[in-house]
C-alpha cells in the first residue's frame, strides 16, 4: 500500500526523477503509438477492422470539438485531442490489471495516478489555451477576455485560470489514484488469508470494472474540458 517511489537525482542538480513514472510514461506512450500506427498502417477507402476503431476515435474527438467550437477554429486541435484522449485512457488502464512492487518501490502503476503528471498535462493544456488565445485573436482581444463581461470580474477571472488548471489535473489524479489505492487495499485483503481472498474477489471484480469505466470517463472529461477551455480562449462568441 504505502510504497515508495524509485527516485533518482540527475547529477546532483536537485532535479529528481521518479523512475516508475518515467517507465510508465514511456510504456503508455509506446502503447498509444503502436496502437495508432498499427491502426493507420493499411489505410483504405473502405475501412476495415482496426481502421474502423481509429476512425471512430477520430469522429468521437471531432464531436467533442464540434460541441465546443466551430470546425474552422477547432479543426487544428483534433490531433491534440486524439493524442490526449488515447494517452490518458491508456495511462488510466495501465494500473488496473496489476501493480508491480520491487522491494518497497512501486514500479508499475498508472502514470496518471501521480499529481505531478496530471498537473503537467493540465498546465500544458492551459498553456496551449493562452498561446492559441493570443495567436488566433490577438493580444488585445485576449486581454479583453479578462474584463468581460464586467471589469470587476478581473480577480475572479485570474482565480479561474488557476482553479481550472488545478481541477483539471487533480480531478484526473484523484479518480485514478483512488481507484488504484482501493485496488491495492483489496489485493492486500485478498492475499492476507483464504477468507480474505474469498471476500475480496467480488469487490475486486466490481471495482476493476468500475475503474475501467472511470478511466474511460476521465479520459473523455479531460479531453472535453481541454476543448472547453480552448474554445473559451479562441472563440469570439461564448
Amino acid at each position: 500500500m504505502n510504497h515508495e517511489a524509485p527516485l533518482w537525482e540527475l547529477m546532483d542538480t536537485g532535479i529528481y526523477f521518479n523512475l516508475a513514472n518515467v517507465l510508465m510514461i514511456t510504456v503508455a506512450s509506446l502503447i498509444v503509438f503502436i496502437i495508432a500506427v498499427a491502426a493507420t498502417r493499411q489505410l483504405a477507402m473502405k475501412p476495415t477492422g482496426i481502421q474502423n476503431f481509429i476512425e471512430w476515435v477520430m469522429d468521437f474527438v471531432k464531436n467533442i470539438i464540434n460541441s465546443n467550437m466551430d470546425w474552422r477554429t477547432g479543426g487544428r486541435f483534433l490531433m491534440l485531442g486524439m493524442t490526449l484522449i488515447m494517452y490518458i485512457f491508456v495511462s488510466n488502464m495501465l494500473g488496473l490489471p496489476f501493480a508491480v512492487v520491487v522491494g518497497h518501490e512501486l514500479w508499475w502503476k498508472s502514470p496518471t495516478a501521480d499529481p505531478a503528471i496530471t498537473l503537467t498535462l493540465a498546465v500544458m493544456v492551459m498553456g496551449l489555451t493562452h498561446y492559441y488565445g493570443i495567436k488566433m485573436r490577438g493580444g488585445k482581444a485576449y486581454a479583453k477576455t479578462y474584463v468581460q463581461p464586467m471589469g470587476f470580474l478581473f480577480p475572479l477571472k485570474i482565480i479561474e485560470e488557476f482553479s481550472n488548471t488545478l481541477t483539471l489535473g487533480l480531478r484526473l489524479y484523484g479518480n485514478i489514484y483512488a481507484g488504484e489505492l482501493l485496488l491495492s487495499l483489496l489485493v492486500g485483503l485478498g492475499t492476507s488469508s483464504v477468507f480474505g481472498a474469498l471476500g475480496a474477489v467480488i469487490p475486486m471484480l466490481a471495482w476493476q470494472g468500475f475503474s475501467v469505466f472511470v478511466g474511460s470517463i476521465q479520459a473523455f472529461i479531460f479531453t472535453m474540458l481541454t476543448m472547453v477551455y480552448l474554445s473559451h480562449k479562441v472563440s469570439d462568441d461564448h
Binding site: 515508495e4 517511489a5 524509485p6 527516485l7 533518482w8 537525482e9 540527475l10 536537485g14 532535479i15 529528481y16 526523477f17 521518479n18 523512475l19 513514472n21 518515467v22 510514461i25 514511456t26 506512450s29 498509444v32 503509438f33 495508432a36 500506427v37 491502426a39 493507420t40 489505410l43 483504405a44 477507402m45 481509429i54 476512425e55 477520430m58 483534433l78 490531433m79 491534440l80 486524439m82 493524442t83 494517452y87 518497497h104 518501490e105 502514470p111 501521480d114 505531478a116 503528471i117 498537473l119 503537467t120 498535462l121 500544458m124
Partner: protein
C-alpha cells in the same frame, strides 16, 4: 550504479521535477510522432473519402440529370413519331380515298367509252348489214325479177318495183 542513486524513504521530501519535464517532452514527442505517422495519414484518407463521396454524389446527380434529359428527349421523339405516324396514316387514307375515286372514275369513263364504242360498232354493223342486205336483196330481187318476170319492163318500173319490195322487206323485219 543507477540503484545506488535511488533515494529511499525520502520520496515526500523531493519534488520530482524531472517527471514533469519528462512527461512534457514525451507528450510533445508523442504528439509529433503521431501527427507524422498516424493522424496525418488518417486525416488524409478521411478527407480523401469525403471528397470521393462528394464527387460520387456529384456524379450521380449529373448522371441523374442526364438521364432525365435523355428521357425527356426520348419522350419528345416518341411523341413526334406518333404524330408523324398519325399523319402518315392520314395521308395514306387520303391518298387511298383519292385513288379509289380516281379508279372508280377511270372505270366509269372506261365503261362509258366501251359502251359508246360498242354502240357505235353496233350501229355501224347494223348499217353495214343493212347495206349488204340491201345490196343482196337488190341483186337478188333483180335476179328473181329477171328470172320470174321475163318480160319487158322499163327501168323505172323496175326500180319502183324493187323499192316496193324492199319496203315490204323492211317493214317485216
Amino acid at each position: 550504479m543507477l540503484t545506488s542513486n535511488f533515494v529511499l524513504g525520502a520520496a515526500a521530501a523531493h519534488f520530482n521535477g524531472g517527471d514533469i519535464i519528462y512527461q512534457l517532452v514525451v507528450f510533445i514527442v508523442l504528439l509529433a510522432l503521431l501527427k507524422k505517422f498516424a493522424w496525418g495519414p488518417l486525416m488524409g484518407i478521411m478527407k480523401e473519402r469525403e471528397q470521393h463521396v462528394a464527387s460520387e454524389i456529384e456524379a450521380a446527380e449529373a448522371s441523374r440529370k442526364e438521364a432525365l434529359q435523355y428521357l425527356e428527349e426520348q419522350r419528345e421523339i416518341v411523341k413526334q413519331s406518333r404524330t408523324e405516324a398519325a399523319q402518315l396514316i392520314e395521308n395514306a387514307k387520303k391518298q387511298g380515298e383519292a385513288q379509289r375515286e380516281d379508279i372508280i372514275n377511270q372505270a366509269r369513263a372506261e365503261a362509258e367509252r366501251v359502251k359508246e364504242s360498242a354502240k357505235r360498232e353496233i350501229v355501224q354493223e347494223k348499217e353495214k348489214a343493212v347495206a349488204a342486205l340491201r345490196e343482196q336483196v337488190a341483186s337478188l330481187s333483180v335476179m328473181i325479177a329477171s328470172k320470174v318476170i321475163e318480160k319487158e319492163l322499163s327501168v323505172a318500173d323496175q326500180e319502183k318495183l324493187i323499192n316496193e319490195y324492199i319496203q315490204e322487206v323492211g317493214e317485216e323485219r
